[in-house]
Amino acid sequence: MCLAVPGKIIEIYAAGGLRMGKVDFGGVIREACLEALPDSKIGDYTIVHAGFALNLLSEEEAQASLEALRELASIEDELDPPAAQDWR
């Protein structure tokens, strides 16, 4: 129940008295409760646990992290060619 990957909010509506939404996890669509994300909008990415959206993801922060990681690993050119395994 805790292996949550980010999903994209594709629909927002009210149901059973709660703010709910449909979230797309790479093609798998799940319903999620958006009560803790009052400002969320369609197109936002969120982490969902047990049908409840915990937080929104920040693209700005993600880019900054990747940039910092590229810099940190800039010794990469001295390394062997990329590993055979590609996890994507």
Binding site: M1, G51, L54
Partner: protein, 363 residues
């Protein structure tokens, strides 16, 4: 940006690992708290790619693993009642109680249903007014908001046939318990990113200071994990012990205050017994007075329960970072995912299951 593939760049991961290799001068023991991280580490083979000086031990962040045997036995007793529809996350079905598991209760005619979210359990309660629907509310701060919301919704809808069997546990008290043990080997923590997405990380500076350990909030993708490990090792090598955030795209210092407000309305801290570890003061949540009508333990009297743990299982020591699954004499022999003797071999987040699945025979 998809927020996933970008953080699985194998070339970049190797670069960061090389950086760690060049930085490290002696051996260090780090603990990842969350079972989801344990699985990701083994899945991507990061434990084998890291320099030998870095030892990862696996923390108690697997809710299925730490739910006490007493509560499992209570769940089994409640699930066997004819008027009850017992709902649970799927992982709980095969967790061994003293004598049996939820699967065997179902095979014997008990109405046990797997749900993805407790909000689905509330729907089942609405559709079955003549039945008592009970949800097994296990988990850390990540499942807390969902479990809490189900109770709020049930109250709002005036449902008299919904209740929760609460077994909530919280991360910071467990970190205190692990570090204050004289046997503790942990020198740095990778804090669980999704727990922090709800709770923030303002609770950690006091831990870092008191026990002189670096704490780095870490995510779940391979790049997140090596970044968390890099930041922890870098701190250890320079003799600092601060709280850092390696998961800033998801986690802020204060966390999600709207989710915390829901949690604080429904739950309050209580002492909680952890399977294999024992009682940790103020390490759990129980329902507040406003919602105590929804407490399944109060609604169903199951009498006194005598528990019996398998004599082989050393899961408690594993979850405190004292031992590895491969050090358990039953591992892979008497105990496999098909014949689990302990919860850590059942759960998709359990360390024993992860070691078995990814074929670890040592380390």
């Amino acid at each position: 940006m998809e927020f996933t593939t970008e953080f699985r760049d194998a070339h970049l991961v190797r670069g960061v690992i090389e950086k760690i290799r060049r930085r490290v001068t002696r051996s260090w023991v780090l603990m990842e708290i969350c079972g989801g991280q344990t699985h990701a580490i083994l899945h991507y083979g990061l434990d084998q790619l890291l320099p030998a000086e870095i030892e990862l031990v696996h923390g108690p962040g697997c809710p299925v693993c730490v739910t006490s045997l007493e509560l499992i036995d209570k769940a089994l007793a409640i699930a066997a009642r004819p008027e009850v529809i017992f709902t649970s996350y799927g992982d709980m079905l095969r967790v061994p109680g003293s004598q049996r598991d939820l699967f065997s209760v179902r095979a014997a005619g008990g109405k046990v249903r797997v749900v993805y979210s407790p909000l689905d359990a509330v729907k089942i309660a609405q559709e079955n007014p003549d039945k008592q629907v009970v949800f097994f509310a296990i988990g850390f701060e990540t499942t807390g908001p969902s479990n809490a919301m189900s109770v709020v919704q049930a109250k709002m809808l005036g449902l008299k046939n919904y209740s929760v069997l609460v077994s909530h546990v919280c991360v910071p008290p467990a970190m205190h318990a692990i570090l204050s043990s004289p046997a503790s080997r942990v020198q740095g923590f990778l804090a669980a990113g999704h727990v922090c997405s709800v709770m923030g990380y303002w609770q950690y500076p006091s831990i870092a200071e008191k026990y002189r350990v670096p704490v780095v909030v870490t995510g779940f993708e391979p790049l997140d994990l090596v970044q968390g490990i890099w930041m922890t090792v870098d701190q250890l090598e320079s003799g600092t012990c601060e709280v850092q955030n390696a998961y800033s795209r998801v986690v802020s210092r204060e966390g999600n205050t709207a989710a915390q407000a829901i949690l604080n309305r429904v739950f309050e801290p209580c002492d909680r017994k952890w399977r294999g570890i024992g009682m940790i003061p103020q390490s759990g949540w129980q329902l507040t007075t406003e919602f105590s009508d929804f407490d399944a333990e109060k609604r169903f009297d199951v009498g006194s329960i005598q528990t019996q743990e398998s004599p082989y299982c050393i899961a408690g020591e594993i979850l405190q970072g004292l031992k590895k699954p491969t050090q358990c004499p039953a591992y892979g022999k008497l105990c496999t995912p098909d014949t689990p003797l302990g919860a850590t071999m059942v759960s998709s987040e359990g360390a024993c299951a992860a070691y078995y699945r990814y074929g670890r025979t040592e380390g």
